[in-house]
């Protein structure tokens, strides 16, 4: 009897979480079902037209743009996160660590709309940067930083930065200082220690951060909308177009599924490549 109870207990404890996951899964399945609706007939019948209609340059270009911007923002966010994560991991003072953590978390704490106004004030045609450049005579007309791909890329990096920095800092903090000391004793420079000791050891944290950034940015909606001036058509924006004003839930669902599958495929592929390269590195060393 006691043994039976001890078998049940983990499931009982897990049940709230499982229930929550079941609701999420049901919502996702409803989207899958809507993507194969027959237009105008709701859930009566099945049609793949939602998917076949996507095989045109308009959507393919948008998919490519979405994956490209997500990838670029991932690489740049990870590169920028390395020094910040190192500082967070190595900071001795509690205050310094807290300040760094607050700074990194700010993009998640501040409303995205507010952040976009911040960028507008700094980078807009009448913004601080253009004002300075014009006053110094460096440019004759305001430079267009925003409402282009560059503006969106900047926003993607900024908003997803904590997702890259936090897992990396956590992974770096877990590496014992003795490895660095040993490498330094053997004459390795700071750069060599970072390149050959710290980064390979922190690779799992870096990879999780990179995957989080990629997934987060591949589905970005607000950033391209606010900083792209609606001229950078990432796929999530096209999903919204299908819902409002076209009320085409079938197409919107099909685009969402395609975006989800493409993102999962890229994530799986990159994970596999990293594992393979680590395996090869392990063999050669």
């Amino acid at each position: 009897m006691l043994e039976e109870n001890s078998h049940r207990r983990p499931w009982l404890l897990l049940s709230p979480a499982l229930l929550f996951l079941a609701v999420l899964a049901a919502a996702a399945l409803a989207v899958v079902r809507m993507s194969v609706d027959v237009p105008g007939h709701g859930w009566h019948g099945i049609s793949l037209s939602g998917y076949t209609d996507l095989a045109i340059p308009y959507y393919l270009k948008s998919l490519w743009l979405t994956l490209r911007l997500a990838l670029q923002s991932t690489v740049l966010a990870v590169l920028l996160a390395i020094p910040v994560a190192l500082a967070m991991a190595r900071a001795k003072s509690k205050l310094a660590r807290r300040l760094l953590l607050t700074g990194v978390l700010l993009p998640l704490l501040v409303n995205l709309l507010l952040q976009s106004y911040g960028w507008l004030i700094i980078l807009g045609p009448g913004g601080v940067l253009n004002h300075a450049l014009l006053s110094l005579g460096i440019v004759q007309r305001p430079v267009q930083w925003l409402y282009r791909e560059n503006g969106v890329l900047l926003g993607l990096i900024q908003t997803a930065f904590p997702l890259a920095a936090l897992p990396m800092a956590s992974a770096l903090r877990a590496i014992s200082g003795s490895y660095e000391e040993a490498a330094a004793t053997m004459g390795a420079s700071r750069w060599q220690i970072l390149r050959h000791v710290l980064l390979p050891l922190a690779m799992p944290g870096m990879l999780s951060g990179a995957l989080l950034v990629f997934a987060y940015n591949a589905s970005a909606f607000a950033v391209p909308l606010l900083l792209g001036g609606r001229r950078v058509s990432m796929l999530a924006v096209l999903v919204r177009d299908q819902i409002t004003p076209l009320l085409n839930w079938q197409a919107a669902s099909a685009i969402s599924i395609v975006l989800m599958l493409a993102t999962l495929a890229v994530m799986a592929l990159s994970q596999k490549l990293v594992h393979r390269s680590q395996h090869l590195l392990g063999k050669t060393s």
């Binding site: 807009g124 045609p125 009448g126 001036g229 609606r230 001229r231 409002t244």
Partner: protein, 364 residues
């Protein structure tokens, strides 16, 4: 003496009312009677969650409750698609008696067989509404406001408001103009305007898209976020844009520091779309109450207040708009002479393709 006067006045009123009742047609009298007898009854009203919805609650729902004693329970949805989704999700058991929404939503719901056709004879205020604005969505919607789009211009740059849409193609404003985003119906109307300027029409739209393509490298942005647009006018980064409704920034446009003005006096006219009130087929409330409510939304005073608050055009030709708002709202003369509405049914067939073409043209 005073009492005698009051009594006499009351007697005169009663006689007057009897005479009026015998001369007026029945529905008008019914409507008057209905408005007085709704105490204890409840109407469920679905509207927008934005400023327009708040204004509807303030100017229509609250004043209706005050006037009739009926209780109005309001729910608000984020946009027309949200309202359509709510009504579709409820199926044959909708929770609403009246919904205010844009034309595309009204047509979609009508096509899905979810609406009840209103009895126009029970809406006496319709007599002051021009026939083309009375109904739509196959007769299932009653027009209650006109969403009107003009050209937004920088009051610091323009000495006089532009008089033609051709100003958008004027090279001197290159890099300092904005256009509506592709998913908005304003983009559709702009394509039609461009087509007309280039010798085409709604049915022959290609010249319009060719003309719009000339603006690809001349625009600063597509105005998806009205607050950003207002900010860009404030910092003098924009000179001109549209077509766009001042209803998107009803507060900012009235502040001089934002340098924004709107004009509807283009020689080509201006685009307008009817917004509707509709009745769900299986409404839970009293049908007399519902008609009285819709009729109240068409009252000239209510229409004037709504137009002033949300900067939309009134459909009631007798609506009086307070002077502080009148320069942002087309006058009843302008509406009668210059308002142009696109063919909703024909548009539904091509809108998806047009959104795609517009997006492709202006992709950075």
């Amino acid at each position: 003496m005073q009492n005698t006067n009051i009594k006499r006045r009351n007697v005169m009123k009663a006689i007057g009312a009897s005479i009026a009742a015998s001369t007026l047609s029945a529905p008008f009298v019914n409507a008057y009677a209905q408005e007085q007898n709704f105490k204890g009854k409840t109407l469920r009203f679905l509207t927008w969650s934005d400023d327009t919805g708040l204004a509807a609650l303030r100017n229509i729902a609250a004043s209706f409750s005050e006037k009739t004693g009926a209780k109005v329970i309001a729910d608000r949805a984020d946009g027309t698609s949200g309202m359509v989704a709510k009504l579709k999700a409820a199926g044959s058991k909708p929770q609403y008696d009246v919904i205010t929404l844009a034309g595309v939503g009204a047509s979609g719901l009508a096509d899905a067989g979810l609406l009840l056709q209103p009895d126009l004879a029970r809406l006496p205020n319709l007599k002051d509404v021009a026939p083309e604005y009375r109904t739509g969505a196959n007769g299932f919607g009653v027009g209650y406001l006109l969403w009107t789009n003009g050209l937004i211009y920088n009051t610091a740059t323009f000495k006089a408001a532009p008089a033609s849409y051709e100003a958008l193609w004027d090279q001197k404003y290159s890099g300092r103009i904005f256009l509506p985003p592709p998913s908005w119906v304003e983009a559709v109307d702009l394509a039609i305007i461009a087509a007309k300027l280039a010798g085409g029409s709604q049915k022959n739209i290609d010249p319009g898209f060719k003309k719009l393509a000339l603006l690809k490298d001349r625009i600063l942005m597509l105005g998806e976020n009205p607050n950003q647009v207002a900010e860009l006018f404030r910092t003098n980064a924009l000179d001109l844009g549209g077509i766009y409704s001042p209803a998107f920034f009803p507060q900012a446009i009235k502040k001089p520091e934002y340098n924004m003005g709107v004009t509807y006096d283009m020689k080509e006219g201006f685009a307008a779309q009817l917004m509707y009130t509709v009745i769900p087929k299986s409404h839970p409330g009293d049908l007399d109450l519902i008609h009285a409510f819709i009729n109240h939304s068409l009252d000239p005073v209510v229409q004037g207040k709504m137009a002033a608050d949300v900067l939309n055009g009134p459909v009631n030709s007798k609506a009086a708009i307070p002077s502080e708002s009148s320069r942002y709202v087309p006058s009843t003369r302008q509406i009668a002479e210059k308002a142009q509405m696109h063919d909703d049914k024909a548009l539904a067939q091509v809108q998806s393709e047009w959104v795609r073409r517009y997006t492709e043209i202006f992709s950075a």
